[in-house]
Amino acid sequence: MTTVVGTMPQAHKDHTGARIGMWLFLFTEILLFGGLFLLYAVYRSKFPEDFHFAAGTLDTFMGSLNTLILLTSSLTMVLAVANLERKNRKYAAIFLSATMVMGVVFLINKYFEWSAKFHHGLYPNSEVLQQHTGGESVFYSLYYLMTGLHGLHILIGLAILGTMLYFVIRRPRKKLRLSGVNSTGLTLKNRSGETLWEHSEAGEGAEPVREIEMSLVYTDNEDITDRLGIKLENAGLYWHLVDVIWIFLFPLFYLIT
């Protein structure tokens, strides 16, 4: 009887490199929104009264509510990451779901907010706005552009978090193939040395086993951090960045009136 020691193939992983890559992407996002903030600053200094007046029409309550929602969703996001780090698959999934729910609620609020503005005829190039001053028109264009682009980021974030939730919940299967075996007796043991399965063909002319193929299903969370930790952390980085952008959008559009 031959003993073949099989281990799960481990791919080389560079978590620091993965995080650096994510941050490099986030820098491009910072510059993208930074350019829009610059546009806002320049036009605000050009039309101070118009911006002052137009910003007064935005719903401060709705804006504050959405700020609370996003800040709280960032907390649940980081708690999902921290739970996965501690191998708590269940709580990671719960906090991740909570984050997604808050993202959806944020977008629903945004929908009502925009609908109210549209209802009053306040949208880019609308007839109502054409009768207003140029500065107000610019304010609403920037408002729709910046909160719209931010909302798009929330939507993309939700898609990413949904994918992550699927990865956290499912128990993956892995095909393992061992070739180069030449034996008539095989034993499958678990980590503590207990025999799980045995195969032996003794006797004259017994055909030896040449290859073993196994389909393994993960049953414990032993390596969940290893498999998913960095993915969830990078997804979290994206979600937090979207939160940071809103932290600046909120006072500049809703509060400075």
Binding site: A41, S45, K46, L68, L71, L75, E233, V244, P251, L252
Partner: protein, 104 residues
């Protein structure tokens, strides 16, 4: 060689691990408090000061998010340097363009 590398990796992982949930909850409470402050300050009608105040508070809030929620506090120095460079670049672009537009 490989073993030493694995050890270093394990050490950094261990250093990263003690991030208690309570820290995150405290940071969240701080963020909520600062949001309250920024809304109150905006209601006071301080003129130009209110713009400055709002931006300063937003900067403090995002620093908290970046340091704790985005783990920059616990990251290697290379992350801090890169982030510093990115913010510096953004500030240069903002300040130079704004200065140019203001004195045109």
């Amino acid at each position: 060689m490989n073993e030493t590398m694995n050890e270093t990796i394990n050490e950094t992982m261990e250093k990263k691990n003690p991030r208690p949930f309570s820290t995150y909850i405290l940071i969240w409470l701080g963020l909520l408090m600062l949001t309250g402050v920024t809304i109150t300050v905006a209601g006071l009608n301080l003129g130009t000061l209110s713009v400055l105040g709002a931006i300063v508070i937003a900067a403090i809030k995002s620093t908290l998010v970046v340091l704790y929620f985005m783990h920059i506090k616990y990251e290697d120095r290379v992350f801090k340097i890169m982030l510093g460079l990115a913010i510096f670049t953004l500030v240069v672009i903002l300040v130079l363009t704004f200065a140019d537009v203001s004195y045109r």
